[in-house]
Every structure is written in structure tokens, then in C-alpha cells.
Symmetry: C2
């Protein structure tokens, strides 16, 4: 019964009608991205996701991964599917052509990642982490490191994995203890234990490249004494062939709520040989340099599962016969009407739909800026786009993953008791997506990054304010757009006021930013989605007779009238401020 | 690491300080409920829950239940724990003394059920369903049925189970097909298949009494042709001893998201012998007569898990060292501060706490009315209380279970990556509690019961309005209470206006009630909790120096300032109405 079919019509609408991908493809390096090529990429990745990865979604959840004396075996079918992924060239989609990549825009990668993770999040994590390792090496590796590792990671022949967390440090990486001792030959001996390492060990590839945070012997305490190392599972000879096994091993795997088919490993580095990447003691900077793409990618995990949950909820709501429509029988010859006639079921489906489409626009809009920040030939344009990316990245990560949880939760409810049954698939979406507001920096940390760093410290609010204010000013008085513009303008005013309030108060009370960060983040994200829905409405209004555009306008209206009002209460909570959050004596909890 | 300790101080505060249990115990039949007795009951059920049931919570989840050729074996320790439950007389807590029960008030039962379900929801379902079957027989059974079954169910020697749902009918029971043919000797032959039957088969008791909805041969179609039957697993001889096995068997058990240690069964009735309970064709009425207590009980499941999740989140937040307080190191000698210093962690803990305490007050306030409706010697008082119960029951069921999901979700987030790991217990709370907004009528159905039946049809809004308006009017101008009264009054005005809007519009558009029901329910529940927190503040203000009362006032303040503002956006959504919910063409989803 479960279904999965990527919504390519919406993908193309956002790319071409909303965000002018024709113009975007004029950026240097994107000359090959004609509409024909992009449509072919989307069609093929849609087929790969739905035909190869989706069939392993439930079975992978049931089987999980096997751990036996350090060896991790993935679920049935994963190895073959991974081989087909590599064969199809998918891991190289955005990689540099110098490393054998296809040099596709981040915008296209967003849609590719939505598809593979929507089909199978556990599977999607393997190439996702590999891409992260590739990007880090491409950005920070020496020429020799790039030559040895980048093409193998770009192709997916080898996999990558990130080793940051230790038992006593997750968010607070300054506490980490893993040691790196220079061996005198330019390499380092890495010793320590890392936990929560996704895809830390598996049987999909013959080598795994770990990016490991560790301390040099003379390193300053705290986060300013952390360096980044490249540690291969199997040592690589100068000619690129594989040598001896390195001193790194998987000690155990976690038993967890979801993403059962992706191993979460305890990784023991026991004098493993590694090489420094980037500057000594600046490992966090190197790691965070690739965090923009990684955090957007995690946001996509939320979007991906939201879409999958929505599709399955709709399919069930069309088929399940129960009760009658409030206005009288819709299918009088059947024993009951399909539950999609019930207003409360529609409320749930429309909420799922509006949040999912909103998340998708937000991700693509941000990915567009990311492309511009990397590719535009004008430095000023790059800087403007880079500021936008810096501002929006935590919003994309946190809002999309929060929505993933909300939408998956609604998906269960639409199915009623059947939503609680494993075979029907909806409960797995909630179990799988529940990690996404946590990994790559919890959403609380994202919210603090937005408020503390991007708004208060770097003063980037203007990067969002400028296009939104411009849009509102340009279209004020447009009668047909008024139903979209007015709620947007009202929310924007609340956001601006909340920004002012937090700025004013944070100097007085250091807790003010943290106490309001999550509510502010949500207020910000809802306003950003309202802006994008208003733009979408502007595009769709003249085409409103076509089914797709009618549906888009209806969804935009639903968002404005039945979701966006949340901004009023978020603003009121921010007005209330940190006082009630901090008042409780610690002992009295 | 996981902890569980029932919050008896809050139990006693709500019973005695807020809701005058001393006065309540003057109701006929409660003469034995002195404060000493109540405190002893709470202490002992707290010990039983934390010492006997809580240790089986994680192990039961991991082991689940075993199904082998119709036989269901519960997880290790369950049988012994159940024997101790019976030995302690716990199932008989609220049962009629005529049936060997202790005749305790519903108010006390709420707290007992909070404890056992907070310790172990899977376990709590067994006595919970048994109690439901007991109540149905005590209310609707013939004298002979009562004599044979009521004492055995009251004591827990036999278990009970409810058999309503069939594959093609959950909410829409009018579609059910199970047949009951008169055998000519006063008994009936029951044939059909029921699904989603909690505790339908198990090894805890030697007999299980099923309450089964089925159709008589001449029954009208739809919900007006359903009768209620009593069907024992093992036939009972006239002398009360057990006879032959009846024609009912468990066909399979479901693999589901949570409550793994409670079997969810497919039950096959294959010419099983049963006896009519209540009037022919009026089975739904009989079943729903006991639904008030059942729905409140399910609400308690949500409250129970909220409390358990909160406790574990607090314990973790006190111990986990990570980062520094915004105002500077709190524990300078340690490598980092406990995360409870971080404003966003406090926001999550305070939200968990305020919702949990609010849910508890709401449940006890409603249970008080339920006691009055059954016990008061004045008919007018009984009627007033009965109206209040009818109005509040769907609110308790839906709001408490929604809060259970929200609070458990926050509990995971407080633990970060550790929240996703099974051994830490937090993820189980979300998996377990996720069924509660579904079973005993989905929360959408509850919301329609509130809006469609209780408000529009029965016009019961006044049952809530009267005490709240009276309270506000009485205390207006009280300066110390103003910070609680003003937000309450503002929310009440929004609720009153939303009630008026839905009333006015529902005549015009039949979808109006359904499209707004869930938002209205939430608006109603938040206002009701605000009323109870304002009353609690009134009690605690004069005692504000004592730790307990200071914490209560802080929590009440947090609720008013950082949760109650949601009423503004809920009202705005109701103002937007059914239009945007219903606009989408069905094909276009």
C-alpha cells in the first residue's frame, strides 16, 4: 500500500517559474544545465529513488544492520543499491569536474537529496556523509590529499564519515579529548573514542574516509585547540591502491528509535594514522566551513520525509471509507465516503502539504544563494548571497526538520490506528525523522546561531529584510495579490519588531537571546515561507485555471490563513521575554 | 539512569488545596476517604508503580509479547507483577463495595492511573481495560451477569477487553459486520473478526471477558443496529467455576510503534457463545455510557507519560555538562555547566512542566465533576456536574494525549542524541504515547464531539463559562492576581468569540464545525488550564515563600506568558474558517 513518487511538477515550478533557473544556469560552470538536462536528472533520480531505494525502506527498518565483532553488515539489498548508485554516477552530482564530478548546482542537489532521503533516509545518509567528506577535502585538503581521496569520494567508490562527538561532548566540542600525536613523517597518530558516528562502519565500500576532530599535544584548551584530521579505514598507498588496515575500528552500534538501516557507531581510534587537514587548531573552522551545505542537507531530510508522509496520508485518505461528508454522502453507492471528505482530515492534509511545499521553496531559495555565493563572477553579488546563506542556513536546518516531525506526526494521525502499525509505514517516518532536529547541531543550537550569531553579532537581518520589504513595497496595492501580501506584511512587521526587541534586551539580560531563540526562529521561518508563497501566488495567479496553479494558490491561501497566524503568538511569547523562562530556581524543577 | 517517582506533592496540592477534597469526601459513599487514607493510597500506589512496574518498562518494550499458535505470552515479569497488582487489591480501587471494591472516588483513580501508566503504559492497559469491562457490566449487566462477572473483574482475577473495531470500521462503527444469532437458550452465537484489540489475549489471567459489538439478525443498518454482548474466553458455569473454552481465539498480533508489551490482537469469534448486555440495538449507547470514564482514562495515559518524560529530561539536564551559562560559568570547577543553565533547555523543561501540571489539574477537575455526577444527593447538582463532564471529557482525552506527544517529543530533544537511543528511555515515551491521540476515538473525533455535539447540539458551553466568568468577576481588581487573571480573561474572550463564530457559521456551511474543531478544542483546553492555573495561583500566592508554592507560581506565570498566547493564533485560524480547509479539489491533493 505505501507509495512514493517524487513531486517533480513542484520541483520544476520552483526551479523555473519561481526562481528563474534559466537565469541561474548562466552562472559560470552551469553552462551544461539546460532545462532538458535538469529534467532528465530529475526524472532519472526519481526513478532510482522510487524503484531502487524505496523498496528497501521498510525491509531495511525491520532488518536493521548487523554487528559482529567489529564488522557491520547492512540490510539485504543495500549493497546492491549502493553499487547501482555509484554506477549511475549519483554521488558525483555536485562534485567538481576536476574530480570526475558533474558540477551540478546545489539547487539540483536539494531535489536529488529530497528524493533519495524521502525514499530511504537510512540509505541516503551514506552518500550524504560521503559528500560531506568530499566537500571538506575539496575545500581544505592539500593537493596530495585531493589527488588521493577526492575522486574516490566523488564517485562514491569510497565512503566518508564525520567523527566529531565523544561521550562527554556533543554540542560543546571544546571538551573533546581525542589526541593526535605527530609521528615525525608528516602523519599523526590518532587515539580516542568517538560516538554517534553515522555510517562509521559498513560493508558498502572497501574504504571509508573519516574526518576526525582531535587535539594536538600543544593545543590550547577548549574549542580553539581542535584540529581536523583525515583518517582512512584502510591506508592508501601513494599510487592510490589500498594498503594495510588502519588502527580504527567499530566498537559497537547503537540501538535507536529510527534510521535502523544506517549504523550509528562507536568508533575507536587506537593509534590510527591520520593527516592534518587545514591549519592546526583551526579544525572547527574547517569543519564548520562545510556546515552550510551539511545543515541544508539535514533540513532536506526533514522535507523529504514530510513529502513521503504526505503522499501516504493522501493515498490512505482517498481509499479509506468511513463516515459521510458533512454536506451529505459523496459516494452514495458505497458503504461510506473516503475520509478525505472530512474537514478535519483535510485540515491535516492541507497542513502537511503547505508545510512541505513551504519547506521546499525555502530550501531551494537558500540553495540558489549558495550557488551564487560560490559561482557568481561579481564579488559583491557573492558577498550578498553569502550573507543570505549564513542567515538562512540555521533556519533551513531547524524549520525543515521541525516540520518533518510535525508532518510525520500528522501522517500517523490521518491513518488512525493503522498509522501505529509498522507495516503501513507512517510510524517509521516519525521514528526516522525524529533524529533530524538533533543531528548536525540541535535545533536549539541552530536557533542560537540565528539569533546570537547571525542577527546580533553579524547583523545580517537585512539580507532577509531587503528582498522581502522590496517585494511588499513593489506589489502593495495589487488587489489580486492582497490576500497574500497583507498577511505577509503583518508577519514581517511582527518579525521586525521581535528582532528589535531581542536586540534591545539582549544587552540587558544575557539569557534573552537563548530564551527566545526557538520562537524567533519559527517566526522568522514562517515569515520567510509566507514571502515565498506570496511570490508563488504572484506566479500562479495569471495561470490560475491550470490544475497545478489552482492547487498552488489554494495551498498558499491555506498557509496564509491557517498556519501563518502562529506568528502572532510567537511574537507575544517573545514580548514576554526571558523572565518566565529563567525564573524557576534550579532545585525546584 | 532513567528515573520515575510520582509527584505526590502536586497530587495532594490539587486534591486538597485546589479542589477541596476534604469537602469532596463528604459525598455519599466517600466517608472512608480521610486524608490519611488517601495519602496512604497514593504512597502505596507510588511504591507499587516505581518498584514493581517501572523496572519492567524498558525490558517489556524490548521483549514485547510472544505469539505462538493463538497463545500470547507477555514479557518477563509481567505475570508476576500482575499477580502483585491483584494481591494488592489495586484493580478494585474504584469498584463498588458490593463487588468487593473499595469505592474510591474517580479523583483518586486519576492519580492511581497516572502512576501506573507513567511507570509502564503497556502494563497499565491490562487493568485499565479490565476496569472498563467491569464498569460496563456493573452499569448494564443483568443481576446474573453482575453476580458471575463483576467481582472477578473488580478483583482483577479475570481480565476484560473491548472488541469494537473491525478491518473496515474504526470510527464509523455503523459499518460493523460481526453477527450475533440467538441460540434459543438466551445466549447468542457470535461470529466475526475484530482488530486492534488491546489485551485481547494474554497469559495474565485464566479468563478474559470480552465486550463485543455485533449485529442481531433483524437489526437495522448502521449504528442503530448494534448490540453489546458479553463473551467470556472460557465459559463460566452457574456456580462461577470455569467450564469449556469458548469459540474465540487470537489470530495474530500487530507489530506496532509502541506499547510493545501489550498485545494488540486480531480476535476471531467463531460461533462464540455470548450474552446480550443492555437493550438490543442499543449497544453503542451502552458502550458510550462508560466512555466518559474510558476517555478520561486515556487522557491520563497522555498525562502519565508527560510526567515521566519530564522527570527524565530534568534528571538529564541536571547531570549533563555542556557549555556555559550565558551569564558566565555556574560550575567553574567543572569542565562545563549542567545544561539546565541554558535558556532553551529551560524553555523545554518549563513547557513540559507547565503542560503536565495543567493536564493534571484538568483531569482532576473533571474527575471531581464525575464523582459529583454519580454521588451527589441533590439531583440538580448531579445534572450540573454531568453536563460539565459531558463537555470536558473530549477535552481531557484530546488535550492530555496531544500534550503527552508534545511533552515526550520535547523530552527527546532535551537529551539531544542521547534521546534517540533506546536504552535512555525517552524515545520509548514518544513511541508509547503516540497511540493515545488515536485509540478510544481519535482526537479529531473528540474535537467533533466537543464542537458538534457538546457545544452546538447540547449547548453545554455554559457549564464551563459559568465557573470561569464567576471566578474572573469575583477577583477582578485583585492586584496580586492580575498577572494571572488578565491573560485568562483575554483567552476566555477569544474562546467565547470563537464559540459564537462557529455557532453562527455552522448553520451556513456544514463543514464549519469540523474544519475548526481541533483548533477550537485546543483554544478551549488552554483557556481551561489557564483558569485552573489562575485558581492555583490564588491558592499559592499567600504561601509563596514555600518552595512548592513558589514553583507553582513560576509555572503558572510561564503558562500564562509563554504558552497561553497560542490562543490568539487559534482564534485567528477559526476566524479564517472552513474556506481554506475545504477549497482544494479532491483530485488535486
Amino acid at each position: 500500500m505505501p507509495v512514493f513518487a517524487p513531486p517533480i511538477a513542484d520541483h520544476l515550478f520552483i526551479l523555473y517559474d519561481l526562481l528563474d533557473f534559466e537565469g541561474h544556469a548562466k552562472l559560470p560552470g552551469f553552462e551544461h544545465c539546460s532545462r532538458d538536462v535538469i529534467e532528465a536528472v530529475l526524472e532519472q533520480s526519481s526513478r532510482f529513488s522510487s524503484e531502487v531505494l524505496y523498496p528497501l525502506h521498510r525491509s531495511g527498518d525491520e532488518e536493521g544492520v548487523h554487528f559482529d565483532d567489529g564488522k557491520v553488515t547492512t540490510a539485504k539489498g543495500f549493497k546492491d543499491a549502493y553499487a547501482r548508485l555509484v554506477e549511475g554516477g549519483w554521488p558525483a552530482l555536485t562534485a567538481d569536474p576536476d574530480h570526475g564530478g558533474q558540477g551540478m548546482p546545489h539547487m539540483v542537489n536539494v531535489l536529488f537529496e529530497e528524493m533519495i532521503n524521502g525514499a530511504n533516509l537510512s540509505f541516503g545518509l551514506f552518500p550524504g556523509l560521503t559528500r560531506g567528506a568530499y566537500v571538506a577535502i575539496a575545500q581544505h585538503g592539500t593537493d596530495a590529499q585531493k589527488a588521493l581521496y577526492a575522486p574516490k569520494l566523488a564517485s562514491g567508490e569510497w565512503a566518508g564519515s564525520m567523527c566529531l562527538t565523544e561521550a562527554h561532548c556533543g554540542t560543546d566540542l571544546g571538551l573533546l579529548k581525542t589526541q593526535a600525536l605527530p609521528k615525525g613523517d608528516g602523519s599523526y597518530s590518532i587515539t580516542g573514542t568517538k560516538i554517534f558516528i553515522s555510517a562509521g562502519e559498513h560493508d558498502l565500500t572497501e574504504n571509508i574516509v573519516y574526518l576526525v576532530l582531535a587535539r594536538l599535544p600543544d593545543a590550547p584548551k577548549g574549542s580553539k585547540g581542535i584540529s581536523l584530521f583525515l583518517v582512512p579505514k584502510v591506508l592508501v598507498k601513494d599510487d592510490g591502491s589500498l594498503g594495510a588496515r588502519n588502527g580504527v575500528s567499530c566498537g559497537s552500534i547503537e540501538h535507536k528509535m529510527g534510521i535502523h538501516a544506517c549504523p550509528t557507531c562507536v568508533m575507536n581510534f587506537d593509534g590510527a594514522t591520520g593527516w592534518l587537514m587545514g591549519e592546526p587548531n583551526h579544525g572547527l573552522k574547517a569543519m564548520f566551513a562545510m556546515m552550510n551545505t551539511e545543515r541544508i542537507a539535514v533540513g532536506i531530510h526533514g522535507l523529504a520525509i514530510a513529502e513521503a508522509s504526505y503522499q501516504n496520508a493522501v493515498a490512505y485518505a482517498r481509499e479509506r471509507l468511513q463516515g459521510r461528508a458533512p454536506s451529505g454522502p459523496r459516494e452514495a453507492t458505497k458503504p461510506a465516503d473516503p475520509i478525505i471528505v472530512h474537514p478535519d482530515v483535510r485540515r491535516m492534509l492541507m497542513t502537511q502539504r503547505a508545510l512541505t511545499e513551504g519547506c521546499r521553496m525555502l530550501a531551494l531559495w537558500t540553495a540558489q544563494a549558495l550557488d551564487v555565493s560560490e559561482r557568481h563572477d561579481d564579488q559583491g553579488e557573492r558577498k550578498t548571497a553569502d550573507d543570505m546563506v549564513a542567515l538562512m542556513t540555521p533556519v533551513v536546518k531547524a524549520f525543515l526538520t521541525d516540520c518533518g516531525v510535525e508532518v510525520a506526526n500528522l501522517g500517523i494521525q490521518v491513518l488512525g490506528g493503522h498509522g501505529f502499525i509498522r507495516a503501513n509505514g507512517q510510524e517509521q517516518y516519525l521514528r526516522d525523522v525524529r533524529i533530524t532536529p538533533i543531528y548536525e547541531g540541535t535545533n536549539g543550537v541552530q536557533a542560537m546561531d540565528l539569533v546570537g550569531r547571525k542577527i546580533l553579532h553579524l547583523d545580517l537581518f537585512g539580507s532577509f529584510a531587503k528582498p522581502v520589504q522590496g517585494f511588499i513595497a513593489r506589489l502593495e496595492g495589487d488587489e489580486r495579490l492582497a490576500e497574500f501580501l497583507e498577511p505577509l506584511a503583518a508577519s514581517y512587521d511582527l518579525l521586525e519588531d521581535a528582532t528589535r526587541l531581542i536586540r534591545e534586551r539582549s544587552g540587558l539580560l544575557p539569557e534573552e537571546a537563548g530564551a527566545n531563540a526557538v520562537d524567533y526562529m519559527r517566526l522568522f521561518a514562517l515569515t520567510a515561507v509566507a514571502y515565498l508563497f506570496a511570490r508563488a501566488a504572484q506566479v500562479s495567479l495569471p495561470k490560475g485555471n491550470a490544475d497545478f496553479h489552482r492547487a498552488k494558490l489554494t495551498t498558499a491561501r491555506y498557509f496564509m490563513q491557517r498556519i501563518l497566524p502562529d506568528t502572532a503568538s510567537l511574537h507575544a511569547k517573545i514580548v514576554a521575554g526571558a523572565g518566565p523562562v529563567m525564573e524557576m530556581d534550579e532545585r525546584l524543577f
